[in-house]
């Protein structure tokens, strides 16, 4: 009896132990199964992210919708279970609708027809109107169809392809199995498509921005910029081209217009061909049009692979540089002429003198002639030296190398000395010359140079005044901390236009002025001297024959 009870207890114990063991094992298995399922889900999610990343990267290099959709289709296959994947793409500007089907597992024709129908329905739903899919550019890839099968698309998902708010097409995955596509799967497909669309939209945006920036830069340039392709078609041009070539505003410009505008001045087509042939930029330094001059730079344009694409032409306005050059040449010519006159006088006087002296004819008459001749040479030589000195001063002023010897002096004394020097000359022309000034005016200046300025103004005043008087006025302006000297005459005056150009090296007064001798550069040098003292020069005149007043100021 005891043996049976013990055996029973043993079995009970065993049963309990087994029970616990099995329970544990079961729990353990369930747990592992749960983990496994989670793991699979996790793996799928990770894989999905990887694929999405790859799509994003691959699409980044291409804006070709076909290619993008292919990438999507291929990637979808990696993530989801399907029998067919199809997409339709709407054409950009008219043409046929693209329809591609990839058959993964064999299906009957009917299957495909139904899928197509579903896609059309979905598209019509989104567009809000019936979509016409009569003209289709159809292509099928993958496994051969088998019409013996009776499978139908039991599960399917349609996802629209929307890029930059435009409906570009539709993707469909279909399976003959039921309930294959749940929220997760639809979500995955949606994510893929969305990812692609966003990447494309971003790229398009970047492109638009860059195009916009380039257009902005070109628009604002003052130089004309244009580009032609290898067929001599005008690709790009900015408003400056229209402006510089004086082309009609408001209408589209073609290469004809440009070549026409340059006809007879430069053969643009030939130059462009040359630049492209030689793979080197070509410059045409000066093309003169009706009222302006342009410098052209023609540069060949090649793409990243080194293929010739065309040429760019830049138009640069050089009109002002050219006119400055012209002025310089005129000035040089004028100075040459100014020197030739006294030189001729010296030459001819010498010739006369040599003849007189050589002829051996004595007498008072001859002596008088000789004296005159020598006096002529003397005067002419002095004139030339004056001119040379003035030219040197002008050169120094322009180079900024004008040196002043500044000491403290009484300005009134300096001016008084000059006035006294000119009294005799004034009397000769029956002109009254008067100085009105305070007792003293001490300031720092270069005595020699300021004397030169006063000398210049007084000699001009006397030269250009045939009758009346000349007043020299010195006044002190405490508030402006300066002394002002005014030389007023009742002479031929200065016209309004000429007033602006009095102190300019380039603009000389008219030829009628030639009768009154002088270097013509006196005012230019005076201006340089006064401005080197940080003073100012200016002139006033009521008009021709109404006298003039020349002013200069010096800081106290």
């Amino acid at each position: 009896m005891l043996a049976s009870i013990l055996l029973f207890l043993d079995f009970l114990l065993l049963a309990v132990v087994f029970f616990f063991y099995f329970r544990h094992a079961l729990r353990e298995r369930r747990r592992l199964q749960g983990v496994a399922k989670q793991s699979v889900q996790l793996q799928q999610k990770i894989y999905q992210i990887q694929v999405l990343q790859e799509i994003g990267e691959r699409i980044g290099y291409s804006l070709d919708t076909n290619k993008i959709t292919e990438i999507i289709t291929n990637s979808v296959g990696a993530l989801l279970d399907y029998d067919t994947v199809s997409f339709i793409l709407f054409p950009e500007h008219g043409g046929e609708v693209t329809y591609r089907v990839h058959v993964h597992n064999s299906v009957p024709h009917q299957f495909l027809d139904e899928v197509k129908q579903k896609m059309v329905q979905a598209t019509s739903l989104i567009c809000g109107q019936d979509v016409n899919l009569d003209k289709l550019d159809e292509r099928m890839t993958g496994t051969i169809l088998d019409d013996h099968l009776t499978a139908r698309p039991e599960s399917y998902v349609n996802v629209p392809i929307i890029i930059s708010e435009k409906l570009l097409g539709m993707i469909n995955i279909a399976s003959m199995k039921k309930f294959v596509y749940g929220v997760d799967e639809a979500g995955a497909l949606y994510d893929i498509t969305n990812q692609a669309a966003t990447a494309v939209a971003k790229l398009e945006n970047v492109l638009e921005n860059e195009k916009g920036r380039l257009a902005g830069i070109l628009y604002s340039m003052t130089d004309g910029v244009m580009m032609v392709d290898l067929q001599n078609q005008l690709q790009v041009y900015n408003p400056a081209v229209v402006d510089l070539l004086r082309l009609p505003v408001g209408k589209d410009i073609t290469m004809f217009d440009i070549v026409d505008a340059l006809a007879g001045k430069v053969d643009l087509r030939t130059k462009i061909d040359e630049a492209i042939q030689k793979h080197m930029p070509i410059t045409v330094p000066e093309v003169t049009l009706a009222d302006n001059a342009l410098e052209l730079t023609i540069t060949p344009v090649r793409d990243r692979q080194g293929e010739d694409r065309g040429a760019s032409v830049i138009f640069h306005d050089v009109t002002s540089e050219k006119s400055l050059e012209k002025l310089r040449q005129e000035f040089t010519a004028m100075m040459v002429h100014e020197l030739r006159a006294p030189l001729t006088a010296v030459r001819w006087s010498s010739e006369s003198l040599l003849k007189s002296v050589g002829s051996g004819k004595p007498g008072a008459l001859e002596a008088e002639k000789i004296k005159q001749g020598i006096a002529t040479i003397d005067t002419a030589t002095i004139n030339m030296l004056d001119l040379v000195n003035d030219l040197l001063d002008v050169a120094k002023i322009e180079a900024g190398k004008f040196d002043l010897n500044l000491q403290e002096y009484d300005l009134v004394e300096i001016i008084r000395a000059q006035v006294e020097t000119f009294q005799a000359q004034a009397e000769q022309k029956h002109l009254a010359l008067e100085l009105i000034a305070p007792a003293h005016c001490r300031l720092k200046c270069d005595k020699v140079r300021i004397s030169q300025v006063v000398d210049n103004l007084l000699s001009n005043a006397i030269k250009y005044t045939d009758s009346g008087k000349i007043d020299v006025n010195v006044s002190v302006e405490e508030d402006k901390k300066r002394a002002v000297v005014a030389v007023k005459d009742s002479g031929i005056g200065v016209s309004r236009e000429d007033l602006n150009q009095l102190y300019s090296k380039f603009k000389q007064l008219t030829a009628s002025d030639r009768s009154r001798k002088g270097t013509g550069l006196g005012l230019v040098v005076s201006k340089g001297i006064v401005e080197a003292h940080h003073g100012q020069v200016w002139a006033e005149s009521a008009g021709e024959n109404m006298g003039s007043t020349f002013f200069f100021s010096l800081p106290l």
């Binding site: 010519a333 040459v336 002429h337 030739r340 006159a341 030189l343 001729t344 006088a345 030459r347 001819w348 006087s349 010739e351 006369s352 003849k355 002639k369 005159q372 002529t376 005067t379 002419a380 030829a511 009628s512 030639r514 009768s515």
Partner: protein, 122 residues
């Protein structure tokens, strides 16, 4: 004695030329501006007119045109003297229909006189 009107505003140069012309046996009438030059030509009907370009009132080219326009004087030979050698000035001189022109600084008085004689001989 051939008559010469000399229009030259530079008194020094004028004096030298007048002396030269007189020694060569020309009766010389100096003028010191364009207006005076035209007046002297009308008054004296010279055999040759020697003109400087740069003169007050009317310049040498203006005087040449004026003389050409006057039927009575248009046949008078004109010798233009100048110190400007640039092409613009030269073409203006030739357009005015002068007989010949000389660059002053390149000539001696004798050479100018010689040229006048040549012009007279034509």
């Amino acid at each position: 004695m051939p008559k010469v009107v000399l229009a030259e505003d530079d008194k020094l140069i004028s004096a030298s030329l007048v002396q030269g012309f007189q020694e060569a046996g020309f009766e010389t009438f100096p003028a010191y501006d364009g207006e005076e030059a035209i007046a002297k030509v009308r008054e004296n009907k010279p055999d040759v007119v020697v003109l400087d370009i740069m003169m007050p009132k009317v310049d040498g080219i203006g005087v040449a045109w004026e003389l050409k326009a006057d039927a009575a004087l248009s046949h008078t030979p004109i010798l233009m003297l100048t110190n400007m050698s640039d092409s613009d000035t030269v073409s203006k001189i030739m357009e005015a229909g002068v007989t010949d022109y000389l660059l002053k600084s390149d000539q001696s008085i004798d050479q100018v006189v010689q040229k006048v004689k040549e012009v007279l001989a034509r």
